[in-house]
């Protein structure tokens, strides 16, 4: 029994530490892939310390967790004293209030808070940026408070009330007796509460994910969006350093505790002399001031005199300086030193729309696709551009002017254009099977097929295959397309957007529909990948264009950025990285020759003529498409025709509520 326990414990520790070992090893890897160790290097650490964004995010996380812990600890301690002096019944009610954030799933806490902030901010105060630093701080304080209270309360209970009375008999005021006696007695509870609050706050992802806007992000939230894209190995380096830091801190804390335990065992602690006391106080005050100054400096350094330009773009959709390309944002910031670009990404038109429509953000520049521009325009979510600030508009090719989505050229300046085709791995896929979109429905490749994780593109694929117009608004035709997708569901390994890179490059799936430029990037990484455009059945031809949403606060800066990106040389350099076609006259000349000549990026005009653009669809159609897509995702069965309206869930929900209330209140009665 004992032996099996020992072996099991060792195995469990191995299980817990294996993934972390993988990450630590990856931080020394020359390659980007987690699975293949190509060689030893320290470059990732160098890259980490040069990556200002990543360090700033770490700073943000520390700032939020230190501030929220400090506030929650002070606030929570006083509140615990107050709660402690309540009558049992009232105390119980307040404690069940305290338990709400503890027992609720994080996702519910996060969502309810974000709905509250958006509701108050947008609907009541008409504020543009209702999700910001302060809402994040409030959320963190809210979930930190219970940890402090739940740790302090037991200590208060254990404390001998006579102690406080004695202090007051000796002439202390209640306040003095609190600071001289009570505080000392409950200190261990306060410390453990604060430590717990700090770790929870530093590592919180779910609540922060829902509550933060794009202006102030914490490290875990941004790591989430990193994990959707091809991972930057420097993140592993950061993980390794944090791991070491926490390890050292924990060991140090344990050693100190063991030492002080021993001291206590050997002899009573010596009374502290008043000089030592003053020394300690000075130290404590100095620490507090240092922390506050540090935080203040961090806040100030993030809010310099610079204008912040909030750019939101697709993942992997701007040259970032890697692999010898031009770092576009750095070049722009160099040209305009008073503008600071805050760059965040989204992974589909729909998620961009949800971010904008959800409210609470300040975004100055977005790069959606054609149909989304039409929708945003229709819903009055775009600002007309001032073309006096965009003289480089003259370089835009005529073919990209007067488009269906922006016929008067008022709201948008094209950024890229491209096609949607199929990427497949020639090592595993028989060329004879590559005949059209039906490849994605081929039973032979079950479990090796990927599909778009956004309704419009996924429906588009099904519609090209079934010969239905991709711009249909007919509910029946949409259901047919949904049936087609449901048919495909059992074959699909995963519904992906930016995650496609690692899956296709690592040969974990073999076939996927995706955007040509991204396919080109994957083909660069894995030479077995091929791109195929089903010309005969038709394919989507799209334009991504730069627009300024109504929630923008720096229109001028955004227009400067647009103008900058329209310079042929810059556009060409950008396309070298993102591998799309440039709508800018002359940009092609600045591109690498093999890219400029590639027929994936620049197909023949005769082929392009067969491409179809997505057009604006009415809101009900979008909603129907979203719902049908969700049904496919959750059920994997054929969506039913016209569901009977059933009262069952309503009844279930209400009875659930009643059961919950009964369960919560019955034990109470039992107590009395």
């Amino acid at each position: 029994m004992k032996k099996t326990n020992r072996i099991l414990t060792i195995l469990i520790f191995a299980f817990l530490y294996l993934p972390m070992l993988v990450l630590v090893v990856a931080s020394f890897n020359t390659g980007k892939n987690l699975t293949i160790f190509e060689g030893f290097t320290l470059d990732q650490y160098k890259a980490l310390f040069q990556d200002k964004d990543l360090l700033a995010l770490l700073g943000n996380s520390l700032l939020i967790s230190i501030l929220s812990t400090a506030i929650a600890t002070a606030f929570g301690t006083f509140s615990a004293v107050g709660i402690h002096s309540m009558k049992p019944r009232l105390r119980k009610t307040v404690m069940s209030l305290t338990n709400i954030p503890m027992t609720n799933p994080d996702i519910v806490t996060g969502i309810s808070l974000s709905l509250l902030f958006v509701f108050i901010g947008s609907a009541l105060l008409h504020q543009k940026e209702s999700l910001n630093f302060w809402t994040l701080l409030i959320a963190h304080i809210t979930f930190n408070l219970p940890y402090v209270i739940l740790n302090v309360m037991p200590k208060l209970k254990q404390m001998n009330p006579a102690l406080q009375d004695a202090a007051m008999d000796l002439g202390c005021t209640p306040v003095q007796s609190f600071f001289k006696v009570t505080l000392h007695e409950i200190m261990p509870g306060i410390v453990s509460g604060a430590i717990m609050a700090f770790t929870m706050s530093l590592d919180d992802f779910v609540i922060s994910y829902f509550v933060s806007g794009n202006g102030f992000l914490t490290l875990p939230v941004e790591i989430y969006s990193y994990t959707k894209k091809p991972m930057q190995p420097r993140v592993y380096a950061m993980f390794t350093l944090l791991f070491l830091l926490i390890f050292v801190l924990m060991v140090a804390m344990n050693l100190l505790q063991i030492r002080s335990d021993r001291k206590k065992l050997i002899k009573q602690v010596k009374p502290v002399s008043s000089r030592q006391k003053t020394f300690r106080r000075v130290c404590a005050i100095a620490c507090a001031i240092a922390i506050l100054l540090g935080c203040g400096w961090l806040i100030l350094s993030t809010r310099q005199n610079k204008v912040t330009l909030n750019v939101m773009n697709w993942g992997q959709n701007i040259a970032d300086g890697s692999d010898g390309t031009l770092d576009i944002i750095a070049a722009f910031e160099e040209k305009y030193p008073d503008i600071d670009v805050n760059y965040t990404t989204y992974d589909s038109n729909e998620s961009l729309y949800a971010k904008l429509a959800g409210g609470g953000l300040t975004v100055d520049l977005i790069i959606p696709s054609d149909y989304m521009i039409a929708r945003l325009k229709q819903e009055n979510m775009l600002l007309p551009l001032n073309f006096d600030n965009i003289p480089n508009y003259k370089y835009v090719q005529e073919a990209f002017k007067n488009t269906a989505y922006d016929p008067e050229n008022k709201y948008s300046v094209p950024y890229t254009w491209g096609t949607v085709g199929i990427i497949y791995n020639a090592k595993f896929v028989d060329e004879a099977d590559v005949t059209g979109w039906e490849l994605l429905w081929n039973e032979k490749y079950k479990g090796k097929i990927l599909q778009f994780d956004n309704s419009r593109d996924a429906f588009g694929v099904a519609q090209f295959l079934s010969g239905i117009s991709i711009n249909t608004t007919d509910a029946e035709e949409l259901r047919q397309s949904a049936n087609k997708l449901a048919e495909q569901n059992p074959l699909v390994r995963q519904y992906v957007m930016d995650q496609i890179y690692s899956i296709m490059e690592g040969e974990n799936a073999w076939i996927a529909p995706y955007y040509a430029g991204d396919c080109m990037m994957m083909m660069d990484a894995n030479p077995d990948l091929r791109f195929y455009l089903p010309e005969e059945q038709g394919f989507n031809l799209f334009i991504d264009a730069m627009c300024i949403p109504t929630c923008s606060e720096n229109k001028d800066a955004a227009e400067k950025f647009i103008n900058f990106l329209c310079e042929p040389e810059i556009s060409g350099a950008n396309m070298d990285y993102i591998c799309y076609g440039s709508p800018i006259e002359g940009a092609r000349d600045y591109m690498d020759e093999y890219l400029a000549e590639s027929d994936v990026i620049y197909p023949d005009q005769s082929i392009l003529d067969k491409g179809v653009s997505y057009l604006f669809l009415p809101a009900e159609t979008n909603r129907l498409m979203d719902n049908l897509f969700m049904e496919i995702r959750i059920a994997g069965q054929q969506p039913e025709e016209e569901e009977e309206a059933s009262a069952l869930p309503v009844v279930l929900t209400l009875s659930g509520l009643a059961a919950a209330a009964a369960l919560l209140f019955l034990p109470k009665r039992k107590h009395k």
Binding site: S112, E350, A659
Partner: protein, 274 residues
């Protein structure tokens, strides 16, 4: 007099908690009962919840399975740790805590690297000539991810309870003629019940609401209720449906923890022992 005054200290707290926990739940309820496009009152969102009941069922099922596995694996470990010397206990306790402080996003991502078709495990198996295993994308991988992430949440409360069990009780049971199994079933297990219950709660609640683990380790057929909620907010732009689903999730968790607490009896602060 004194008591009355210190009660006032909790005033701001009560106000804060009302404002930032109860009222947000109310706002969530408001969203659940309104139409996403028109903002008018509707029961449609609640009606449509029926569509998602199978998904909720899957989530509950996965989390119960992983909570049971966590208990099975965690109990012996907690028992083992609790019977070491105090210094070893401290070290092992710290080693259990440590992973909890590291980014769970990256740690889960590492599992993707391990389990992938061409991942580390399969490469190693291939080198040993043992073929490959296809785990990623299955429910097994999702449950593995849950067990991996939430196992410490099971071990820590169990350890906290087991370490407090008075050895004299065990000796007494032995003196009275119990054999090893009987001692365990009649003394140790009942005494560690509060730890078991809070461990199960602490595994179940985050597991049932996760969306990251199923996104990374799951496949096309392992969509969980957390994924659906996240999608309603972050891509479908249907916060109203999302709010209704969150409400359903919250009620389900309330009912589950309520049932558990009734089994576990009183213990006011028993919910969180870390």
């Amino acid at each position: 007099m004194k008591k009355n005054k210190s009660i006032l200290l909790s005033g701001p707290y009560i106000l804060w908690m009302l404002l930032f926990t109860l009222i947000p739940l109310g706002v969530m309820g408001y969203y659940a009962l309104t139409d996403p496009d028109t903002g008018a009152f509707t029961l449609n969102n609640l009606r449509d919840l029926g569509l998602f009941l199978p998904t909720l069922g899957t989530s509950v099922w996965y989390s119960i399975v992983s909570a049971i596995i966590c208990l099975g694996l965690g109990y012996p470990v907690a028992y083992f740790i609790a019977h070491r010397s105090p210094v070893t206990q401290k070290i092992l306790y710290m080693l259990i805590m440590l992973p909890m402080c590291m980014s769970f996003l990256l740690r889960t991502l590492a599992w993707v690297g391990l389990l992938e078709t061409n991942g580390i495990i399969n490469v190693l198996l291939g080198k040993l000539g043992m073929g490959t295993v296809e785990i990623i994308g299955t429910s097994g991988a999702v449950i593995l991810g849950m067990v991996y992430n939430y196992l410490p949440y099971m071990i820590l409360p169990l350890y906290a309870i087991i370490v407090k069990i008075d050895n004299r009780l065990i000796e007494a049971a032995e003196d009275l003629g119990c054999n090893g199994t009987q001692v365990f079933c009649r003394v140790i297990l009942p005494l560690s019940m509060p730890g078991i219950l809070s461990g199960i709660t602490m595994v179940f609640v985050p597991a049932v609401s996760t969306f990251y683990i199923s996104q990374k380790l799951g496949g096309a057929e392992t969509m969980l209720i957390g994924d659906v909620i996240e999608k309603q907010f972050k891509t479908s732009n249907n916060p109203n449906m999302g709010a209704a689903l969150s409400l359903l999730l919250m009620l389900m968790v309330l009912v589950c923890t309520g049932i558990m607490n009734r089994f576990g009896g009183e213990d006011e602060e028993g919910g969180v022992v870390v």
